[in-house]
């Protein structure tokens, strides 16, 4: 007799089409569930609304990342190439420039040589934005991870081919073994299974 301890991950239900999945999502949303997700082989337009997802917080991260990039580039360039910091009373930051100002093409060494710095400011803004987009996204969706409890289900492997799934997780406060199952049945879910993960 096996003595493996198992934890209930949630109910997984399969749907026939995008349409069914979409309507199921609307009903699960209206039933007040919080911890659940849909899985489909391709993105479905309007699914965010159907699921009642709030707007992503990612843009705020990216904005801050971009601003940081601009600031870093501006600071780096003005400290090493101009006497700007000295002119606002922070000359200790750039003693070397004071001694050896970089004169390029007879351009001024004060803040008005700013146009020369724009390409770097632009590139670093893009770079930092791209980094925050990628790493912010990974952080928000909880990747990378070793495994996911849903992979226990054999049927679930269809999600990357032609399967449309709804999974309501057990950690949802409204989850109940009977109520959740009957909701999914009522919505036309097929192959409903209780996914249990080995601890």
């Amino acid at each position: 007799m096996s003595t493996t301890l198992k934890r209930v991950h949630g109910y997984l239900a399969e749907f026939d089409s995008v349409k069914d999945l979409y309507h199921a999502a609307e009903h699960v949303r209206d039933a007040g569930y919080q911890r659940w997700d849909v899985h489909s082989p391709f993105p479905i337009h309007g699914m965010d609304t159907a699921m009642g997802n709030p707007r992503s917080k990612l843009p705020y991260f990216v904005f801050c990342g971009g601003i940081t990039g601009t600031t870093v580039a501006f600071t780096l360039e003005t400290i090493t190439q101009t006497n700007f910091w000295q002119s606002i009373g922070l000359g200790f930051l750039q003693k070397i420039v004071e001694t050896y100002p970089t004169v390029v093409q007879a351009k001024p060494t004060d803040i008005w040589t700013l146009p020369a710095f724009f390409p770097v400011m632009f590139e670093l803004t893009i770079l930092f934005s791209a980094f925050t987009t990628l790493f912010g996204l990974l952080a928000l969706i909880g990747l990378p991870r070793w495994n996911h409890p849903l992979f226990v289900s054999k049927n679930f492997s269809k999600f990357s081919d032609d399967g449309f799934f709804v999974c309501i997780e057990a950690r949802d406060p409204k989850f109940s073994q009977e109520g959740t199952k009957s909701l999914l049945e009522k919505l036309g879910g097929k192959n409903i299974e209780l996914v249990e993960d080995e601890i």
């Binding site: 309007g46 093409q105 351009k107 146009p115 020369a116 390409p119």
Partner: protein
Amino acid sequence: MSHHVTFNDLPQGGEKFETAKGAKLINSLGFIGGVGLLASIYYFYAETSTFAYSWLFAVFFCFTFVVGGCFWILLHSVSNSGWGVSVRRIWENLANMIIPMAIFASPLLFPSVQTHLYEWMNHHREAAHHAAEHGSTVKEALHHMSEANPHLHVLVSKFGYMNLNPAGFSWYTRFFAYFLVLWFIASTLRGRSLKQEQDGDIKHTIRSRQFSSIVLLPFALTVTFAAYDWLVGLDYNWFSTMWGVYIFAGCAWASMAVSILVITWLRSLGYLQKVVTDEHYHLMGKLLFAFTVFWAYIAFSQYFLIWYANVTEETRFYLTRNTEGWRAVSIFILIGHFVAPFVFLLSQPRKKNPVVMSLGCIWIIFMHLVDMYWNVIPERGPSLGQGVWVPGAWMQDIAALCAVFGIMSFLYLRGLAKYSLYPWRDPRLIESVNVVN
């Protein structure tokens, strides 16, 4: 998500705009245009030299919207996009304003106007005079003149492009070609769109796509060369390879803002309620955002190259605009044309809000106006030898602007009533109406 709209929800025959409903705005624009035109006629005779610049500024300002409208229908067809079907007629009508535009631009053909605007033409006419006397060619005469005045050497080098030979590849031929090409594109695409309203056949969409792919290049050349001939020609020594793209970026930007404003106005009068949704505002707002960045990218690249290279012939353009009062205008353009719209258009909820977007679009059109003013008018004082600012000439600028912009928008808004406000039998209308992005 709201109810999925089907063909049954939309009226048969599309929506026809009744000018009486929008009479308040249309008549005020017509009134402004009429007053402006009277003032313009007075200034044209009283102050021809300074007023020539005002007129060029006003004409080019309105020309950019027409070109932009043409660009958006072209892009819409070429990229085979479905989302824009419900707003396409707005652009089609905008692009077809090219005929009144040609009438407003025609004063530029008069030598008495050209003589104040385009110094190179004066040299060419003098050379033609000498050539007739000595039986040589114009180019030879020009070359001969440049021995006394070395500044004219550049005109000899540029002779292949900058010349007045009415039969060849000259300023005059190109002037007519620009309007012909734009008229051909605009009327063909709207013609196809209207034919589709007869039979609802998808083949018109496909034909438009094929047609657009072919004329995209002539269109690009038209915008570029028109910008060179009319604006760069103000200073024959100056050149910038980015100029055409710079003007084009402004065209696309400002005309998108105009179409958003027109759509909001029509919706406030009760039209396009089902056809245009906040998703369309979002999509158009995104394009507006893209062109805000694109314009800044091009404007900066042009400035950057000229500033770094420090070549005398090139820097003159920015020297004029970075000294005296123009410096403040330059910095204002940097902030108002790029920084403010950039930050404003970042947020999705703002782009989806028609009221907020329309206020933003008014600002954008204003900034485009400032940009065009900044491009044309600084040449006036130095070219006419009247200092940096010609005193009192701003009144002429306003008169010209009222005349051209007022009458053009009066005609445009009245013209909306001619056809349905959206292509109601386009097979992809439903796709566009229910667009989600």
